[in-house]
């Protein structure tokens, strides 16, 4: 069975998010609790504020699967609902079949950290 992670609509005002870091690679097995990616949501385009309303989120797997392909790299700006990680239940399962459903994930707001692609070290 093939399933995928698309960029989730975390809050209604967002239209895009930036991939801050990816924790998985193709061929890797993930299980419940595996970190998949950290995202940056910047609502500046939707809100006129003197400082950017930026928040960070982590996507974590809630089920077992094998990572088969990743179509984004850290720093990429993705639109909501854009697919960026493809999974399968078996490691060698053919990918020429339709995506069955979304990957089961958890999303939570996180603090900025040094592993993110955006620079906040100063």
């Amino acid at each position: 069975m093939i399933f995928e992670v698309r960029l989730p609509l975390i809050m209604p005002q967002m239209s895009v998010a930036t991939i801050e870091c990816l924790y998985v690679e193709p061929g890797e097995a993930v299980k419940m609790g595996s970190k998949l990616a950290d995202l940056r949501v910047d609502l500046s385009s939707a809100f006129a504020q003197e400082c950017p309303p930026v928040s960070y989120y982590r996507i974590v797997a809630r089920e077992k699967a094998f990572v088969r392909s990743i179509s984004a790299t850290p720093g990429d700006l993705l639109e909501v609902d854009a697919p960026f990680v493809l999974f399968s239940t078996e490691p060698e399962e053919p990918l020429d079949q339709p995506v069955t459903r979304p990957m089961r994930t958890t999303i939570a707001g996180i603090m900025h950290h040094d592993g993110m692609v955006s620079d906040q070290k100063l």
Partner: protein
């Protein structure tokens, strides 16, 4: 239907005469106006009536304005000829005279209060970040290192609130026009609101503590150290470097919590001491802060402000400073140290806005995938722990906590606090009322 003449009230500054520009209206002729809503403003200046010894009052505040508001609501008929236009509405050209009629208010019945037509005055003063930042349009225009607004009737002495917060506090205090107009409309008792911007150095507790304990010789050492660093660079700093460093050194050399304030009022000039209360934001407290390797002072520049720095300043920050982790307990200790220091010196009360600790945008079914300690990983856990620390401090020290977390949850965080810090107008109004209630016990 009756027409109530709207007149300027008395304003006096002992030793000075008060001059004003032509009026610049904030409303249109015929517009309905709420009570206490500013309808126009003047630029003003103080001209010494005799010999001045020392620095004249307000010499460091090049923006000086008075906004005016009716005490009761009604439809406005603006006076002819008062908006002089051009530079005559910018330069101060006439003496401020109490009783001058500037318009009329159309009302159903004549009010009984004989002062009903006397306009309330909101005095505004801005200290420019640089004297070059002269902008002639609008209320409190330009780039300021400090702005303030005050109001008083008769001989009342204003109580001062200093805002040293970030966006969650600034919007509450400065309001939509960044000229304290909402606070002015909400509070009729004599009050002064002071705002110091959160850039380039963000006002977290260790920064404020540094500012009030730094001696002149320590500041001189900072100046000399910066001079040595930038003077020794092989590549010349860029204009952005110079401007960023100018503002940074200006902030390092100031201590808003120790400032004194001259104010002109209806009863004459008054001199106000250190603020009775300071409003802070828990949201500005970082979990890691920079500390100068040699001189030991702290530096916290928010990420979106770092973009203003040139390459030389970025190198200076990364080479001359070290990163110091601040777990939640350390943030609490910094708050305690600041509160204790203020209690021993100026007596300034600390009011703090806590953090929104839920977002509604999460669906955590398991904490696997989030490294321990959770307060260093999950923003909502960090916010909850910091809020708890703040509550613990309030049990033992003079600290008022405004519960943004509860207000946001009550109103609906997704609608009124979508990113956890930038509030809706409704939430700001509630927080504004809460701030004013916190000021009640510092009024004499």
């Amino acid at each position: 239907m009756t027409l109530l003449p709207l007149t300027l009230g008395p304003l006096e500054a002992s030793g000075y005469s008060l001059l004003r520009s032509g009026v610049r209206w904030l409303v249109a002729d015929g517009q309905y106006c709420e009570a206490h809503q500013p309808i126009g403003y003047f630029n003003v200046s103080l001209e010494a009536t005799g010999k001045v010894t020392g620095q004249p009052e307000f010499a460091d505040e090049m923006e000086l304005q008075v906004a005016i508001a009716p005490r009761i609501g009604g439809r406005l008929k603006l006076g002819d000829g008062l908006a002089r236009g051009g530079y005559l509405s910018i330069r101060t050209i006439e003496e401020w005279r109490a009783g001058d009629v500037i318009g009329q208010l159309e009302m159903e019945e004549t009010p009984e209060d004989e002062r009903a037509g006397e306009l309330r005055a909101l005095m505004l003063a801005g200290r420019r970040m640089t004297a070059l930042a002269d902008v002639h349009t609008g209320l409190m225009p330009g780039w300021h290192s400090r702005t303030r607004g005050w109001w008083a009737d008769g001989a009342e002495k204003p109580v001062t609130l200093l805002c040293q917060g970030v966006c969650d506090a600034v919007g509450v205090v400065s309001g939509s026009q960044t000229a304290f107009t909402e606070m002015f409309a909400m509070e009729q008792q004599a009050t002064q609101m002071v705002y110091v911007p959160d850039h380039p150095i963000a006002p977290c507790a260790p920064i404020l503590l540094d500012q009030i304990t730094r001696t002149p010789s320590q500041f001189q050492a900072i100046l000399e150290d910066a001079h040595a660093y930038f003077g020794g660079l092989s590549n010349a700093p860029t204009p952005n470097d110079w401007m960023f460093m100018g503002a940074t050194l200006q902030a390092l050399g100031s201590a808003p919590l120790k400032d004194n304030y001259p104010v002109f009022t209806p009863s004459g000039m008054q001199h106000l001491g250190a603020p009775q209360a300071v409003l802070m934001s828990l949201a500005v407290e970082p979990l890691a802060i920079l500390r100068h390797k040699k001189l030991g002072y702290y530096m916290h520049v928010m990420r979106h402000h770092q973009a203003a720095a040139g390459p030389a300043v970025k190198s200076w920050l990364s080479q001359e400073f070290e990163v110091v982790k601040r777990p939640v307990e350390a943030i609490g200790k910094d708050y305690e140290a600041l509160i204790d220091r203020l209690a021993k010196t100026s007596g300034t009360k600390v009011i703090a806005l806590n953090r929104m600790s839920t977002s509604g945008h999460e669906d955590i079914s398991s904490y696997m995938g989030f490294d321990a300690p959770l307060s260093a990983t999950l923003s909502n856990v960090a916010a909850k722990e910091m809020n708890l620390v703040l509550d613990d401090i309030a049990d033992t020290r003079r600290l008022d906590v405004i519960d943004i977390d509860a207000i946001g949850a009550e109103l609906g965080g997704a609608e009124h606090l979508p990113d956890g810090i930038h509030q809706s107008g409704t939430l700001q109004t509630i927080a504004r009322q809460a701030v004013l209630e916190c000021l009640q016990d510092v009024r004499v």
